[in-house]
Symmetry: C2
Subunit: 327 residues, 2 copies
């Protein structure tokens, strides 16, 4: 592999000039430029990015920390991150944290030793302190981690309110809220939205903890439906949980949407694959991912952030698990 010295030699200038040329910094005469261009082509020269990084203390790696890429919520985010990263010449390092603070810590440290340029984080506030003293750009995606860290989220509260209200409009009078895990910000916001929508409406409600996992959700829903035959609506805090509830209903022979209406949250691809199609409060995941990545890159490249906290609107996606004229 040719290096910068070879290029310098072959084009009859110094390495400094070649470097200036490569980085578009400082003066380089037309003749020099031409000669260098030629040499670069001749030698098929590609800058050694590691050497550059050692010198600049900056790589073009972005660390993306997600709880678990197998959870279908995250690939859509990851894809968006990757697309924007590519566009700006960055490359993304995938880290599954399993919501384990220690594992997350490990990644933060390792990637820091590797001079990553910044982090996009979709996990909880467990390591807030680390991120703050990191002195690297960080943006929080889907969940706020700290007021000082730029954040991109959906309008969870409003979305939950919207979804729940829709359930009520469609005639539900005994609604269970399959809330997500405690301490996870979007989950908290969604319960709040649910509770607000339900207040004073004379609705019988039940709020139950439920992880963002299909099997657990199905089991939980099954038990609930058996114990409370009057339940006629489920507001799930994620599509995965809604899918579990739907499966549970099917298993019990409860007709959806005739006897039970279900509404999910997220709008992942899965929601349209189910039968009936899942009515859901859809987030614009791709957009969230791209915005977060642009913010991060802005921040890496020293521009002032256009925004500090972005809330992407959600949209009620009406499909077959709720009754409605539209269908």
């Amino acid at each position: 592999m040719a290096n910068i010295r070879d290029v310098a030699k072959s084009s009859g200038v110094s390495v400094a000039t070649v470097s200036r040329f490569l980085n578009n910094k400082g003066y380089v005469s037309q003749e020099a430029k031409a000669a260098i261009e030629l040499a670069i082509r001749d030698l098929n020269y590609k800058p050694n990015l590691v050497a550059r990084s050692l010198s600049t203390k900056q790589t073009k790696f972005i660390g993306l920390i997600v709880p678990d890429i197998v959870n279908p919520f995250f690939p859509e985010l990851a894809r968006a991150v990757e697309d924007v990263a590519l566009q700006y010449g960055y490359t993304v390092v995938l880290c599954n944290s399993d919501e384990d603070a220690e594992k997350e810590m490990h990644y933060i440290e390792t990637l820091q030793q590797k001079y990553v340029a910044g982090f996009i984080v979709t996990t909880n506030e467990s390591n807030t302190a680390q991120y703050q003293k990191l002195d690297l750009p960080v943006v929080a995606l889907d969940r706020k981690i700290h007021a000082s860290i730029p954040t991109v989220t959906s309008n969870n509260h409003e979305g939950a309110h919207m979804g729940t209200s829709y359930l009520i409009e469609q005639g539900c009078r005994h609604i269970v809220c399959l809330r997500g895990p405690r301490g996870v910000e979007p989950a908290e916001d969604r319960v709040a939205g649910f509770l607000e929508a339900v207040k004073g409406k004379g609705i019988n409600t039940l709020v139950v903890d439920c992880p963002f996992q299909f099997d657990r959700s199905e089991a939980i829903a099954k038990r609930l439906l058996l114990e409370n035959p009057s339940i006629d609506g489920v507001f799930a805090s994620s599509d995965i949980s809604a899918a579990g509830a739907l499966k549970a209903a099917h298993g019990l022979g409860i007709h959806v949407p005739e006897k039970l209406q279900i509404i999910g949250f997220d709008g992942i691809g899965l929601s349209s694959m189910l039968t009936p199609g899942l009515t859901t409060v859809a987030q614009d995941l791709y957009k969230m991912g791209t915005i977060a990545t642009r913010l991060l890159i802005q921040s890496i490249e020293g521009q002032s952030l256009s925004e500090k906290e972005v809330r992407v609107p959600v949209q009620l996606m009406i499909r077959g698990t709720t009754r409605s004229e539209e269908r």
Copy 2:
């Protein structure tokens, strides 16, 4: 950030000794060791991995090239890769190629400039030549790219044979095969297995091209089912396509599995979330991912490969889209 010189100074030895200590190479006396350990702790020293890489021409990055992480087949693979990578101190760079040779090329080049240690590739043979002249360890996962490159796949042929035969046993007499895209090796192997299973059995068959995409699969299946009311079985080359077929059947009011039996391939999480649960030829995706990663790391670290071509067995997962006593 403290560097190796600081540690050397603080512990009263030379940088060479510290380096030897860090890498467990060459002799280091007990006293030296103790002093160095102390200094490292004191200074909270972390080796600069970029500097190390410049010197060794090796990073601990693994490039993982997938067509599209949003396709639910790949996250399970990616997760496995990441888990093993972590275990061995590697870190994975995620690249979505969209099956686009140029995009893939771009990643190969960029990552090479960044001194990645090797690649795990789950895309087609488009860039075989590049990989070969890459002179970096590469392993192919899910698809063979070249005889010279270590490969981990499932037993696609046998799996398809098994699935198809099961459909026949359960009484199907007019089976459509939703074959995957042309030129994709696993898809080809699966059609072959299908065809073999069906041969001489007096089965009415139809083989139709069908991408690994839900919407397209649903549309294709819908048209087929409308045009050929006698179809009583679908062998899909992927769970995604099977899900599409299932949705199409539901839409047309065709009962599954009474009137139409469906069998998928892959065994992704989705298959159990559908109603009825999808009968499928399940691959052990996690295992495939771990094996591929271990092979790659062996190869990176200069050990001779334990195997050159691994075929992981598949398993028929009987659920609700086929008729059977078990249910």
